[in-house]
Symmetry: C2
Subunit: 447 residues, 2 copies
């Protein structure tokens, strides 16, 4: 076995194949599930991703709030697909696409040919036309985003500790989160715990428990995808943690000193963007997109007008049972990947057209601070500690790779018992990582 | 208790103290041990560090080779010193020092006054006057360094996998490590394992086990600080792991394509610098320095000509029993910190001059690949598996903080059983973390 593989490697060593039967763009939940299914059937698949790792996005807010470390929620894509010998992985960014010629190009200049193409490159945050706000209010989509937000929050405390001006201290200890969906609610609860418990005894001049956390939502209530009872529960729980919730409030400006909401300046030491979603720019190469930039697909996940090209996950607007597009959830992406993977195996073997996709909701969850959550399935609605436990068990189980499961469990257990957080590192982001003169001179923490 | 502290915090809230009885520059092994001793006695101490975290440097090579994650070998300095209520921590970089006026300045512009000053700001890597080499051959001193080296190594494999030119593939799969001290030996062994075991089945075109690892040492043998038997053992063990050791070889040039050694070009996909040490630039402000830029101190760790100013750890050249300066080891730094801390407590209480420092060696260790190490104490010399076990137990025990100990143990056990490494992430270093246009466009992996 070992020997046979080595021979195979040697044979291929000088022939890097630039085409694949199925090319998959994106190694997220959708792309991985699809590649797994095609790989099981031994089909020739090439997965292209900008990163070398798959990211377990539902736990990304825990990296941003120093509860977990980056490596605990990410796995190399190669490792995940290692046993599927017919699946290849390429780290690269797709820069262009010609659906007719069955070709795409990477930013590195390489040309890749395909017979079938599956676009699953996901979404990024949208600033409703105010892309300049991104500088002051980072969103949360990648590990880099999470590290940046973590540094920003922790640096605000460091700056406040040394600041002689009480008004500036109040500003630095104000954190604003824009967007009252699950990510915003989870961030608010997690930052509240960080300031009230984890950091409580670390400073001498400031009291981190005085941190003023504001969660701003443009719509009438938090967690719009859940029931009104869930919104009320989240609002009450967050209030108990000291979070101020402002619904029906539109952010009009974001700058270095804070945000402006309904004409009123809200000074802040850190602003985090958890609103707005924009699909990956690749969508535009495939024609019609909706308001969020998503590709409209038919119920079989095919892109109309482009035979043999499919889109799924957050980049696709796939009609649900009520006609509205399915939400951008990990479970939607995963089910779509599994479904299309199985359908494409059949299609490649027998030529039959893929069957339509049906979404089976496993229920929706959002975490509201320490050991409280809302869970809403088709038959049950749970709120509080029991929902949190269910969420924790399911997420630990779902985390890709056994190693991560063990570590995350240990980490959680420890954190649950002690309020301690180990990942409280302020990243030392240097403008040019290669410049030697900079190496010994990181940016000063205050500007 | 809780209440009393809150009152104290409130009192201090508007009065940020800019002076301290003892100011400590650096939160490494020396600075922390010193602050602990002074804090136990309730003395007024201010610890200044460029980072918010203490780094367990002896395990840094494991972050660089994807075996551990950053957060597992770093702890916030505030957390470590949390219980010492008279000790304050300030994140900042010292830009200047006036020993006569008893003042120093931070890059942020703040002025700090002191009665006694302890300089423990450590060392960085030295390129023997070729600072431009740093661009191509990063050294290993900080978490950022480790992440950069990890990305560089993993990217070399990613590039090789897609490269059609066999000669370029050979270059990409060549890794050169400069410096045959413990760090160089540990890196070589760890990279050998990474390529031969961890990555073995992850690629389709290349065989990572073909990676050519070369360890270059200018002196006549590896591990110069150990016995000749230890050097032989390390050389044999590394050879068994597939590492080519070249001693008595001087690096003459380093560039984007590799290194030049003794007139011969050695193409490489990644070059790592584990040679040369240079003290932190602060040393120059205090007068006389040795060849490595270290401050010459007297046996009491005092800086001659500057009463009340001390230097210890890697920045200090402190004479050992044989008259030669003590080596730059964590245990030297820690013992110096404990010693000077106790002496300064006595000095501040009674006015007696600090007593001279005596180093008690606990033995020297270096790891040579998987479960093999050399350990040399005053009475014993161990080599092989038993030395490795001793090293592992001691290092896990020494790691600051219980949480890290648990996690690192789990990680090690898992890795030992499976050759698996979880921290295989390629960092997405963006030139300007704040620029929104860049946010969705990381640098392509090939240039």
């Amino acid at each position: 076995m070992q020997h046979a593989e080595q021979t195979e490697t040697a044979e291929h060593a000088h022939a890097v194949d630039r085409t694949a039967e199925v090319v998959v763009i994106g190694g997220g939940f959708a792309g991985l599930a699809l590649a797994e299914e095609l790989g099981k059937a031994g089909r020739d698949v090439l997965v292209i991703d900008r990163q070398n790792h798959h990211l377990f996005q539902p736990l990304l807010y825990q990296v941003a709030t120093a509860a977990l470390s980056s490596t605990e929620i990410a796995e190399p894509i190669r490792k995940i697909l290692r046993r599927r010998r017919s699946v290849r992985v390429l780290m690269g960014e797709v820069s262009g696409l010609d659906p007719e010629a069955r070709k795409l190009w990477l930013r590195s200049g390489e040309e890749i040919g395909f017979r079938l193409l599956v676009v699953a490159s996901g979404a990024t945050h949208g600033y409703f036309g105010h892309d300049d706000w991104a500088k002051w209010a980072p969103g949360l989509k990648s590990l880099e985003d999470a590290r940046r937000i973590r540094s920003q929050i922790l640096l605000a405390f460091e700056r406040a500790e040394r600041c002689p001006d009480p008004e500036e201290v109040r500003r630095l200890l104000s954190i604003v989160i824009v967007g009252g969906g699950p990510t915003g609610v989870e961030l608010a609860g997690s930052i509240a715990e960080l300031s009230r418990h984890t950091l409580a005894r670390d400073f001498r001049h400031i009291d981190p428990a005085q941190t003023c956390i504001t969660l701003i939502e443009a719509g009438p209530r938090l967690l719009a995808g859940f029931s009104e009872e869930a919104s009320d529960f989240a609002t009450r729980r967050l209030a108990r943690l000291g979070v101020t919730v402002r619904t029906g409030a539109l952010v009009e400006d974001v700058g270095p000193e804070g945000v402006t909401v309904a004409g009123q300046a809200l000074p802040a030491g850190a602003v985090i963007w958890a609103a707005g979603v924009a699909a990956s720019p690749l969508a535009r190469d495939l024609g019609e997109t909706d308001r969020s930039g998503r590709i409209a697909v038919d119920p079989t996940l095919a892109v109309p007008g482009h035979p043999g090209i499919y889109a799924l996950g957050d980049i696709a607007a796939c009609p649900g049972p009520d006609g509205r597009p399915l939400p951008g959830l990990a479970q939607v992406a995963k089910q779509q990947g599994q479904h299309l993977g199985r359908e494409l195996v059949r299609h490649l073997q027998t030529g039959t057209a893929p069957a339509p996709f049906t979404y089976h909701s496993r229920g929706n969850t959002a975490i509201v601070g320490r050991h409280a959550a809302v869970f809403e399935g088709r038959r049950v609605r749970w709120r509080g500690w029991f929902a949190w436990l269910g969420w924790a068990v399911i997420h630990v189980y779902l985390l890709v790779g056994f190693r991560n499961r063990t570590l995350v469990s240990v980490q959680w257990l420890w954190r649950y018992l002690t309020y301690e957080r180990g990942a409280r590192l302020i990243a030392d982001d240097r403008p040019d990582p290669a410049a030697p003169a900079e190496a010994a001179t990181p940016r000063p923490p205050t500007e």
